[in-house]
């Protein structure tokens, strides 16, 4: 058995420790908001946080999460109150929506580390997340908007 916490809840799973964290989250834990896109850390659809760091869960063996704290899109906020979710709503970002969990999880780390990100910061943090529908201009605007919300202290 392998133990870690997911979105604040302690879980134990009985899987081959080399199994990618993505599939454990999706299949064993039933949290299907984290997506499979490439299986080789190319597209970012599977992005989650392990101890606060953005990780591509499609290539991270579940053993890497052992004893650690994992946050998935379901844990970003229970009620869409996270400033990023609010900004995504205001900019009407998603189209098909499949990549957006990963986009949000990457953006969350960016915003924590750089509360007022520049366009270059956004390029750097978000370039690993592919969107085939082409929502990048809106993602960029939404990140700036979320940063403003946090700065104004109005988003909690």
């Amino acid at each position: 058995m392998l133990g870690f916490s997911v979105n604040g809840k302690r879980v134990e799973v009985d899987v081959d420790p080399s199994t990618p964290l993505l599939w454990v989250i999706r299949e064993q834990l039933g949290l299907t908001g984290t997506k499979y896109g490439c299986g080789m850390s190319q597209c970012g659809a599977c992005t989650v946080h392990i101890n606060g760091e953005a990780v591509r869960s499609c290539v991270a063996p579940v053993s890497r999460a052992a004893g650690k704290s994992v946050t998935t899109i379901e844990g970003l906020s229970p009620d869409l109150s996270n400033p990023l979710q609010r900004a995504w709503l205001e900019e009407d970002v998603p189209q098909c929506g499949y990549c957006q969990s990963g986009q949000l999880m990457s953006a969350a780390v960016l915003l924590r580390d750089k509360p007022s990100p520049t366009d270059e910061d956004i390029d750097e943090a978000m370039t690993g997340n592919i969107c085939r529908c082409g929502t990048y201009p809106r993602i960029r605007r939404a990140i700036h908007r979320a940063a403003e919300m946090v700065a104004k202290g109005g988003a909690r």
Partner: protein, 732 residues
């Protein structure tokens, strides 16, 4: 297993609501008298049905709307949501005429039923950028009929004339004091007969249509709750991954599954028509066991196929006349006497749709029923093909349309490849099963945008006027061999989808010849977002630029002069040029390119600004003008136009599928790249305001991107681009 239960619950809910809806249909179907409500039929309600309805808490006057006593208005949408916004734009149409409270409006995917057939195409499907224009009347009528019945129910209750009542935000009003909400009227309205005719609103009074209303599906796409096909979990469900032929047409000779079978979680290894399926408890177990199979293939005739020689063959074929598509005047004669002439050959490669969500399908096959969950664009076809394999009549097969993690045409497969194989696997599995394609499986799975070659010759007279144009196209037909070939080709000797966008060349050139060669190559091809326009716009709009160069004229002005009799082309061309600041100087090393195109009943023009540094192209800005006639949601139109530009730019800059000895050389995003955040230009979209008939929006944003970028590269470097993806080493 906490989560599994939760997800299973979700699926259960979807199933339950479908059943409720079917019961309603059944109830309404009891009645004999069928009233025709422009475009679709809904049976009236007999006394018997009314009696049965006495206690219902749902008012479902037609197939497209259901109102509950809780005030919820559920719009049943017969088109698939793959990002293009139909779960918002179509409910807007209905809610507008219903005068619903938009905050109470929701959506639900339609089950498969002839009631939900595409009004223009006669089957349930999503494609051709047609959902909104084809649904305009249907959804507005459905909302108006429901509203009329709610008014009648209220008028009856108040004992007043219905014409003295009014509606607003989900309630009927009379005088200054009487108000009944739609929820309060559900039971009474359900007893009434739908009106034979309804009056639609004067567009001047629209409250929703024409406004940038936020999408209804956004919240669940921000918290992981949206259910895509790959997310469907059923109790006891197994997962399968298939070892597929490495070469198109290869046949399975033998396989050794001794290692795979002994791996943990593996339940079965079975031969299916698609290859060898490994069925396991989980995806990772199935995938690793699939990779441990040793499979011998009879590689077949495609083992010697390579795209290099294929394109060489295309070049040879373009030297001889093809089937005549269009012939105005005498292009050859005019070319012979032209003051200056130019010829150019444009080539584009095979492309993969590359939806973010790889193909997948869930099937629960029982002795006398079959349930399918998948992101389908082709419900009627998929259900019929599933039924055939299941050995069941169509009505015993339920197909649940989930959210689509991108479609771009791939999920409208004439053979239902990803559905059919899942039913085959389910037969062997003996349990509900989900077949997942890996990204690599998806990319190698075929049904690509075909590679195409355009050989074009043109000439101008001494005054710089274009006098001759001859296009010869070589490429595969996407219709040949499909059940749609006869309908789509309509006795023509060429595939209209191959030549769309060049057969209707809008420029005032007196002598035009268009010819088509149909190439026979055993690579499965299909429609991909913007279909033929994805290559014809590139060839046509780049060649127009070359003619402008020949005439020593500005590319924008040259187009203007040739489009004076095409006001809508001219409208978007002028708008894009003006907003982009056409003619204003750019920093050194940068260039501006323009393109205009008509596709899917809409007009589009793009201006791209690029720089080229050490052979690397950077697109800095794209200005897009779109004329799709009367529109429903400008926010969604902007999103589709931006997304279309990026989709087209990805193909222009990065994407190419190549084959060597029958094997696809690209496998995943690192070898078939998609534009990323750091490469994405600033994009501006401007919408033309007019009262023309509504056109499409999902695809028209794609075609202009490649030629606008290629023409901008010429402006920046003086080098012509004649092949996609753009490589400066190949520029001429």
């Amino acid at each position: 297993m906490i989560g599994r239960k939760m997800i299973a619950g979700k699926v259960g809910r979807a199933g339950a609501s479908t059943r409720v809806e079917r019961r309603d249909f059944l109830k309404f179907s009891i009645a004999a008298s069928g009233g025709l409500l422009i475009g679709f039929r809904f049976p009236g309600i007999s006394t018997l049905a009314s009696a049965q309805q006495a206690s219902v808490d749902v008012f479902m006057p037609n197939a497209f709307v259901r109102i509950g006593t809780d005030e919820r208005v559920t719009v049943i949408v017969n088109h698939s949501e793959m990002g293009q916004g139909v779960y918002t734009s179509l409910p807007m149409l209905l809610a507008e005429e219903l005068d619903a409270d938009w905050t109470k409006v929701g959506f639900e995917p339609a089950p498969v039923d002839p009631k939900y057939n595409h009004p223009a195409f006669g089957m349930q499907m999503t494609g051709g950028s047609s959902s909104v224009w084809s649904g305009l009347e249907q959804f507005r009528q459905a909302g108006a009929a429901a509203r009329a019945m709610l008014i009648a129910a209220a008028a009856q209750q108040w004992n007043v004339d219905a014409t003295t009542c009014r509606t607003d935000s989900g309630a009927v009003f009379h005088g200054s004091n009487d108000k009944l909400t739609y929820g309060q009227l559900v039971s009474a309205a359900a007893k009434l007969t739908p009106p034979a005719h309804v009056q639609l609103k004067d567009p001047k009074t629209f409250k929703l249509i024409g406004k940038p209303i936020k999408r209804l599906d956004t919240p669940e796409k921000l918290n992981g709750k949206a259910v895509f096909g790959i997310d469907v979990q059923l109790p006891g469900m197994l997962t399968a991954v298939i070892a597929r032929p490495p070469i198109f047409g290869a046949k399975l000779k033998s396989f050794d599954d001794s290692r795979a079978r002994s791996m943990p979680g593996v339940r079965k290894v079975v031969e299916v028509p698609a290859g060898v399926a490994v069925i396991a408890d989980s995806f990772w177990q199935a995938k690793t066991a699939r990779d441990a199979l040793r499979v011998n293939w009879d590689e077949g005739s495609m083992a010697s196929f390579s795209t290099g020689p294929m394109m060489q063959d295309f070049r040879e074929r373009a030297k001889s006349p093809g089937k005549s598509v269009r012939k105005d005047g005498d292009a050859a004669g005019a070319l012979a006497s032209a003051a200056k002439k130019i010829e150019a050959v444009y080539e584009v490669p095979y492309l993969s749709h590359l939806m973010m969500e790889p193909l997948n399908c869930v099937v629960d096959l029982r002795a006398d029923s079959c349930e399918v969950w998948t992101g389908s664009q082709f419900q009627t076809v998929d259900r019929a093909n599933a039924a055939k394999v299941a050995g069941l009549p169509n009505e015993k097969v339920q197909l649940h349309t989930t959210f689509l993690g991108g479609g771009f045409g791939r999920r409208a497969n004439p053979q239902s490849d990803f559905v059919v194989e899942a039913v085959h696997v389910a037969k062997a599995a003996g349990a509900p099963v989900k077949v997942i394609w890996t990204r690599e499986d998806d990319m190698a799975g075929g049904w690509y945008r075909p590679a195409f070659l355009h050989a074009i010759e043109g000439g101008v007279d001494a005054g710089g006027n274009a006098v001759s144009w001859r296009s010869r196209l070589v490429g595969q037909s996407i219709m040949a061999g499909t059940p749609f070939a006869a309908m789509m080709m309509k006795g023509k000797e060429y595939d209209p989808a191959s030549v769309e966008g060049v057969d209707d060349l809008p420029y005032a050139i007196p002598n035009v010849t268009v010819e088509s060669h149909q190439a026979e190559v055993n690579v499965p091809v299909q429609w991909l977002r913007s279909v033929g326009h994805s290559h014809t716009a590139f060839a046509v709009e780049c060649f127009v630029d070359e003619l402008a160069g020949l005439a020593q004229k500005d590319p924008y002005q040259f187009r203007r002069q040739l489009l004076l009799k095409q006001p809508r082309h001219l409208g978007v061309l002028d708008l894009a040029a003006q907003k982009a600041g056409w003619g204003k100087p750019l920093p050194k090393g940068m260039g501006r390119g323009i393109a205009v195109h008509f596709a899917f009943e809409s007009y589009s023009a793009h201006v791209a600004e690029v720089s080229v540094t050490e052979g690397k192209i950077r697109v800095h800005r794209m200005v897009c003008a779109i004329d799709c006639g009367q529109y429903v949601n400008p926010g969604i139109i902007a999103a589709q136009t931006e997304g279309g530009a990026i989709f087209g730019a990805s193909a222009a800059l990065f994407q190419e599928l190549t084959f060597e000895s029958g094997r696809l050389q690209q496998t995943n995003f690192h070898t078939f790249p998609v534009m990323r955040m750091n490469e994405c230009p600033e994009i501006e979209t401007y919408i033309v305001e007019n009262n023309e008939k509504s056109g499409g929006i999902g695809e028209p944003g794609v075609p202009c991107a490649a030629p606008a970028i290629a023409n901008a590269v010429f402006a920046a470097t003086g080098k012509r681009i004649r092949r996609l993806p753009i490589r400066m080493t190949e520029a001429v």
